[in-house]
């Protein structure tokens, strides 16, 4: 019963048309609220006493890191569904999210690195969080290159989902061990992690930015999945009539 429902809902065709309907709402809503959030954050939020204006990077950096982690979660769930119930759509999700996830993680890394210049005076710090984000980026790259190296996409789907699940189990282990490792060093005087009692006036725009960015990324993910469906199922009749 559940399985039947699941298969029907997860049929690429249904998904294509449903997402086609959802996309514009999600996209424009996220765009508008992201613009509001960014303007609020960059122009109107109060200045941070310690870091000065450079802290405003937080309105781009934190949404990106948050999305980077959420997208990996999405990949893990999709791979699980693919491996257990053999739902093809889930494999398309894994494939299309991995590229977007990599770009978002790259965004998180580079914004963090630029933020590091005025606050730490260096581009790169072997801080626990940065290191685990770097590893996350490498994991995304691994997924992308693994999928790209196989001509037989059915095989590639299986490999990428196994790897994604193994990576998912590995993420908390990496976080723990990296945290553990960085206690060897002198703790940085200001870390990204310790936001000393963030002001509400800073927090509201941050929240808006986080969620609207996530919404925007999900809208793009929908597009990416649609593209993947078109590409993989181009022999199907319904696609030829689009």
């Amino acid at each position: 019963m559940f399985k039947k429902f699941f298969h029907q809902f997860a049929s690429p065709k249904t998904f294509y048309f449903v997402s086609q309907k959802i996309f514009p709402y999600l996209f424009w809503l996220s765009i508008v609220s992201l613009i509001i959030g960014l303007i609020w954050g960059i122009l109107y939020a109060p200045v941070d006493k310690v870091q000065g204006n450079s802290y405003r990077i937080i309105y781009m950096h934190v949404p990106a890191s948050f999305a980077a982690q959420s997208l990996y979660m999405m990949i893990a769930v999709a791979s699980f569904i693919f491996l257990i119930w053999k739902v093809k759509l889930a494999a398309y999700v894994v494939k299309s999210v991995s590229l977007i996830g990599a770009s978002v993680t790259f965004l998180a890394l580079i914004s963090g690195s630029i933020w590091g210049v005025p606050t730490w005076g260096t581009w790169w710090q072997w801080d626990a969080r940065i290191t685990s984000t770097l590893i996350l980026f490498i994991m995304y790259l691994g997924l992308i290159s693994l999928h790209n190296s196989f001509n037989n996409l059915d095989k590639a789907d299986k490999f990428i989902s196994v790897l994604a699940l193994v990576g998912f189990i590995n993420i908390p282990i990496i976080k723990m061990s990296v945290n553990w490792w960085s206690t060897l060093h002198q703790p940085a005087s200001i870390t990204l992690s310790s936001k000393p009692s963030i002001d509400l006036a800073m927090l509201y725009p941050l929240m808006i930015c986080i969620f609207s960015f996530l919404g925007l990324i999900i809208a793009i993910v929908l597009r990416a999945i649609q593209y993947e469906i078109l590409l993989r199922e181009k022999n199907k009749k319904w696609i030829q009539s689009i």
Partner: protein
Amino acid sequence: MTNDYVLAAHNIGYSINNTKLFKNINFEAKKGESIHIKGSNGSGKTTLLRIIAGICSSSNGEVIIDEEISKVMVGHSNALKDYLTLKENILMDGSFDIKDTNIFLESLNLKNKLELKIGSLSFGQRKKASLLKVFNNNSDLIILDEPCVGLDAKTQTYLIEFLKKELAKGKTIVYSSHIDMNLDSIEVYL
């Protein structure tokens, strides 16, 4: 469906990247029968044989083989180790020893090659060496993918005669071949 079929295939289809390689293949084989799989290059003969052997899984349909039945398969890749001698390769198989193999080694002209590394044998000799698995088997189902490629006329006749005897013994053979092997086979076209 009666139970005396050793091998039965129903509506087998195989597709790569949503492109169908073949579909709706049906055949059944009893003991003592053979099946000749025919088709042009790239039509999926090897894939079909691999599906029958249980190495690949088909995209649709199913192959029913009695679980009790033991199989032997010789494909394009001959599963021989270049860096080992012929003797070591034979012993590695585990299922038979040199004594039983002696007759076949003599008739295949491999007797004096036992101590040579596989790497130094010719293509035909390697093919013969990989066919030893078939000559010296107790399996009920024999799967052969282009067994005659690279064999000289004498060995071909020898192989065909051998297979005829096996059929008479009640074994089942599934093979693909560009050469007609005169085994009175059921023909399956891809």
